[in-house]
């Protein structure tokens, strides 16, 4: 039963491994890398959002094409 609960817990965050890894990598880039580029103050936050939206749309379309 504990195994089931653990699997369910991991399943909360990871459905498609590529999708989850892409999100983590972009969060790292936008959270750590972009602020060091000397961009205007609000740009890294906006890029964080746009990157995540792009990852979501691309991943959903990739899954749809597999059908």
């Amino acid at each position: 039963m504990l195994r089931t609960i653990w699997d369910e817990f991991i399943g909360l965050f990871v459905d498609d491994v590529g999708f989850a890894v892409s999100i983590l990598v972009w969060v790292l880039i936008a959270g750590v890398g972009l602020p060091r580029l000397g961009l205007p103050d609000f740009v890294p936050a906006v890029l964080l959002f746009l990157g995540l939206l792009g990852i979501l749309i691309e991943s959903a379309m990739r899954r749809a094409r597999k059908r």
Partner: protein
């Protein structure tokens, strides 16, 4: 006395309510199947035990997270919330586009009833199968509720109370529906709920990651509204884009 910032508390409570509704409806379907086939004593016993354990987890984990510096909690919990929210949103997009089938509570109920009817009956004492089935489903679905409540409560900075109120309200609504209907709640537009919750959790996750990483959101807290609109419009665009390749695939 503590004060709740309802500017953040309201949306947190709503997100916790909607997300918990989805999870509790799934648990209710199986608990109803257990009650109808094996008796209500075991079904309610297993459910009650799991709810008690889940409450203990919230009471232990929630306050413990508030002792960690807020920016670290926002970064870590925000990332987990983002993974969780975008996963829901992606699934809701694919369901709305017809790429994967919608969740069918009636079919799940029929399947559970068939499994439970096939097992040996118990005439005396507690029915172990009934207790364990009800306990397992309540724990499995409840863990998701606990995560949402604790994550939103901690990362929002002292929002555990509104998040808990949202989840408890959802529990009461679903229990009332179960008592009134005595059958699976199949009329609730589950995918629309998941779509909405996915947008809200992705918004909060993105916002808190930015806050935790020290990024400047344009308009400060008002950017939450912009993120909701942005994720919603993006997700709706994704639904239409996913429908096109799905149709080509079907031809």
């Amino acid at each position: 006395m503590f004060a709740i910032d309802w500017g953040h508390g309201g949306p947190t409570m709503l997100a916790a309510f909607l997300a918990s509704m989805v999870e509790f409806i799934e648990a209710l379907t199986v608990v109803l199947a257990v009650g109808a086939t094996r008796g209500w004593r075991g079904a309610l016993g297993g459910t009650g035990l799991a709810l008690l354990l889940l409450l203990v987890i919230v009471l232990v984990l929630g306050p413990a997270l508030t002792r960690i510096p807020l920016d670290i909690v926002q970064l870590v919990v925000g990332t987990l919330l983002l993974l969780f929210g975008l996963r829901w949103l992606r699934k809701a997009i694919l369901r709305a586009a017809g790429v994967i089938p919608l969740h069918d509570e009636e079919a799940l109920f029929a399947k559970e009833v068939a499994i439970l009817k096939g097992a040996a009956r118990v005439t005396r004492g507690w029915d172990r199968m009934a207790v364990s089935t009800a306990f397992n489903i309540t724990m499995v679905e409840g863990i998701e509720v606990v995560f949402i409540v604790v994550a939103m409560g901690a990362a929002g900075g002292g929002l555990l109370v509104p998040a808990s109120i949202g989840a408890l309200a959802a529990l009461l609504v679903v229990v009332a529906l179960g008592l009134a209907l005595h059958r699976p709640v199949s009329t609730v537009p589950e995918n629309t709920l998941k779509f909405t919750v996915g947008v809200m959790l992705s918004t909060f996750g993105t916002f808190w990651i930015g806050e935790g990483a020290g990024l400047d959101w344009p308009g400060s807290d008002w950017s939450l509204l912009g993120l909701v609109v942005g994720f919603l419009v993006g997700a709706l665009v994704a639904v239409s884009l996913c429908r096109a390749p799905a149709r080509v695939g079907a031809i």
